[in-house]
Point group: C2
Chain length 376, copies 2
C-alpha cells in the first residue's frame, strides 16, 4: 500500500490523495460503503462499481468471523473472491462490535471474551487473533484491535483504556510482521487513535501510535453520542499530530455535513452505515437535500429521484414511484434507496476532491453543505 498526498487545499486542512493497493487505487477523500457480512446490503458488486463508483468497501471482522467463518473464507480464497468484489477492501478489527455486546463480553489484558449475538457461543478476540482473522479475510487494509469505550467515561477510564489499546496496537503490529498475506496481494495494518473526548488522551494516543510508525491512522471512538463540536475538536487535536504523508480514516462517520466538516480538518477516509441503513428506512440523501420518501408529499411527484445525480436510479425512477415501493414494502424500494444514498455519498466525495484540487473547497463547502443538509 502506498499513499501519495497530491494536494492540500489553500484555505483549509482538506487534502486530496491517492492510495495504491494491489486491488487498485483510491482517490481521496473517499467514502467506503459498508459490507457488513460480505455484502453491501441490497447492492450487487457490479452496481458498486458501475453505479455507486465505489473505490473501496468495508467488511466487519466480527460478523465475518462468525459467518461464514474464517475456514470458509480461506477455502474461498479470501473475501474478495467469496463476495466477488474486485476492488480494495478494508476491515475493522471486530473490536467495536464486540464492545457493543455490553454484558456479553469481558475485557482482559489478553483480549476480549464474548458471546456470539447469533447463537450465544463463546469466543476470544486477541490482538493476535484479529490479525490472523483479517489475514484470512484478505483485506487490503486491516485494523488493530482497540478498546472503544463509551463516549461518557471518566478521564481516568479513558487513560487506562488508552494504555491497553496502545499495548494491543503493538501486539497487532508484531503479529502482522510475523505473518504473511495468504493470497498473494499485500495487506497493510492501520492504527486506531482513541481517547474519548479528552484532548490530552487523544494527543497521547496519536503521539505514541505515530512513534510505532503505521502506514495509516484511523480515529476511532467518535460518532458514539458526543456532540458534533466535540467530534470536530477531537479530529483537530489528532490531525495536528498525525503525519501529513499518511492517510487518515475517521471511523463510522457520518452525515454529509459531518463528512464535509471533517474533510476540512484533514480526514481522507470515511465509512458509515447511515446511507444504507437510513435508506432502507426511506431516508434519501440527494444533491438537493434529504427527503423522507414515505411522506405523502411525494405521492404524485413525478420528478426524478435526484435530478442532480447522473446515475441510473437517480434519473430513471420518480419520487412517486419510489414512495409507492416503500408504501407497498417492495424490496426494490430498498435497492433503489441504497443505490441512491451510496451513489450520493461517493459523488459528494468526488466533488469535494475536485474542489480541493482547485483550491476552492471552502467556497464549495459553504455552498453545498446547507443544500445537501436541508430537509425537503
Amino acid at each position: 500500500m502506498h499513499f501519495t498526498l497530491e494536494h492540500r487545499d489553500a484555505n483549509t486542512e482538506a487534502r486530496a490523495g491517492r492510495l495504491e493497493t494491489d486491488h487498485g487505487h483510491i482517490e481521496t477523500p473517499i467514502f467506503m460503503p459498508v459490507g457488513t457480512v460480505g455484502s453491501v446490503k441490497a447492492v450487487q458488486p457490479r452496481e458498486l462499481l458501475d453505479d455507486v463508483q465505489a473505490q473501496i468497501i468495508l467488511g466487519n471482522t466480527y460478523h465475518l468471523y462468525l459467518r461464514p467463518g474464517t475456514e470458509i473464507l480461506k477455502q474461498a480464497g479470501g473475501l474478495h473472491a467469496f463476495m466477488q468484489w474486485p476492488g480494495p477492501l478494508l476491515t475493522d478489527s471486530g473490536g467495536y462490535q464486540v464492545f457493543s455486546l455490553a454484558d456479553r463480553r469481558k475485557i482482559t489484558e489478553e483480549g476480549v471474551r464474548f458471546q456470539s449475538h447469533i447463537d450465544g457461543s463463546r469466543h476470544w478476540f486477541t490482538p493476535e487473533s484479529v490479525v490472523d482473522t483479517q489475514r484470512a479475510i484478505g483485506s487490503d487494509i486491516m485494523m488493530v484491535l482497540d478498546e472503544c469505550p463509551p463516549g461518557d467515561v471518566s478521564k481516568e477510564y479513558a487513560l487506562t483504556s488508552n494504555e491497553l489499546t496502545l499495548r494491543w496496537a503493538a501486539r497487532c503490529k508484531k503479529r502482522f510482521a510475523e505473518t504473511e498475506p495468504p493470497y498473494g496481494h499485500h495487506q497493510a495494518l492501520f492504527a486506531i487513535v482513541q481517547g474519548v473526548v479528552y484532548p490530552d488522551v487523544r494527543r497521547e494516543s496519536a503521539k505514541r501510535l505515530v512513534e510505532m510508525n503505521f502506514p495509516g491512522y484511523a480515529i476511532g471512538g467518535l460518532s458514539v453520542g458526543e456532540t458534533a463540536e466535540n467530534m470536530y475538536a477531537m479530529v483537530e487535536v489528532v490531525t495536528e499530530i498525525l503525519p501529513k504523508t499518511k492517510p487518515r480514516y475517521l471511523m463510522g462517520v457520518g452525515t454529509p455535513e459531518n463528512l464535509l466538516e471533517n474533510i476540512a480538518r484533514g480526514i481522507d477516509m470515511f465509512d458509515c452505515v447511515m446511507p444504507t441503513r437510513n435508506g432502507r428506512n426511506g431516508m434519501l440523501f440527494t444533491s438537493e437535500g434529504i427527503l423522507n420518501i414515505r411522506n405523502k408529499k411525494w405521492e404524485a411527484d413525478f420528478s426524478p429521484l435526484d435530478p442532480g445525480l447522473d446515475s441510473y436510479v437517480a434519473q430513471t425512477f420518480t419520487k412517486a414511484y419510489v414512495r409507492h415501493l416503500f408504501q407497498s414494502k417492495e424490496i426494490l424500494g430498498l435497492q433503489i434507496a441504497s443505490l441512491q444514498n451510496l451513489t450520493f455519498y461517493v459523488w459528494l466525495m468526488q466533488e469535494a476532491r475536485r474542489a480541493i484540487l482547485d483550491n476552492r473547497f471552502l467556497a464549495w463547502k459553504n455552498e453545498i453543505q446547507p443544500r445537501v443538509s436541508r430537509r425537503l
Copy 2:
C-alpha cells in the same frame, strides 16, 4: 396486437409464435415474470431486460388498483412510465385476487364487492370497471373479469359460474369496444376459459368464448389444487377448441415440468410467482436441477450458482456465497435468487422455442425435464 403462428412441432402440439405489440414483440413460448404491485420483486427493470431477458411482464390489477391507485397511474402516464418498464405488459383482471379474499368478498350478477386486504375499505369490481382500470394501467394485454371457483366445487356450481363468466366476458368486450386506449398505444383484451375440472364445462366455455372472437385466450382456474394430470387433461380439452392462429395463455402455472408439459399441449404463454416467491425462500431453479440453497451441503461449494446458464448471477456467485447470504438474511440473497430463477425460466422457454423450431421438442423435453426437475 398481432399474433403469428410461426411453426408447429412435428411430434407434439408445441408451437412457436410471435406476438407483436406497440411495446415490442414477444417470441413464444414465453414466461412472464410477475410484477404484482408495479415491481417484479427484488428485480430492477434494467435487469429484467439485460439479465432475465424478459420480453413481457405481468401486473396485478387488484394490487395496482389499491396501490398506487388508478389516479396516480393516470398522472404517471400508465404503468409502463410509472415503473419504467419499456416492454409489453399484461394485466390480469383482479378477479383471481378478489375471489381469494374468501369472506371479504361477495359475488353478484353486477360484479364483485370486496374489502381491501390493506385497510378493509370497500370496493366494487365489475366487468366494466376492470376494463376501465386496465385502460388506466395501460397494459398491452388486458384480461376479462371472470369468476375463478375453487378446484373442488360441484359440476352444478361450475356450470352456473361458467355462465356468469361468459356474461361478464361479453360485458368486458362491450366496454372495451366503447373505450379508447389513453396513452397512444394499442391494448388488446383476452378472454379466460373456466370450467374447473369438468371437461364439458371447459368445452362449453371455450366454444362460447371463441364465438365471441377474442384476439387471445387464457385458461384460468387451473393450478389451484387439482392434480397435474387433471390440469393437463383440461388443457388438452380446451386447446382442441381454441383457434390455432391465436395465442393461448395458461394462467398461474407452474413448475418447469408443468411448463414443458403444457407447451407440448399447445400453450404459448405462462406466468407464475413460483420463481420469485420460492427464490426468496431459498429454492433455486438451475439448468442442473432444483436446490435448496439453505442446505449445509452448499456451505463450501465454490462452483458457480448455475454453470449452465450464461448470466451475471449464475456465473459470478458461488453456491457457498449465496448460501451464506441466505444464512445471514442478506437482501442480496433475495436479489440473486430472484434473478437466477427468472433467468432460468425465460431461458427454458427460449430453449423450448429453439427445439420446436427444429422439430426436436419431444426429444429435448425428454432429456431436459428430468434434469431440471431433480432435487440436487
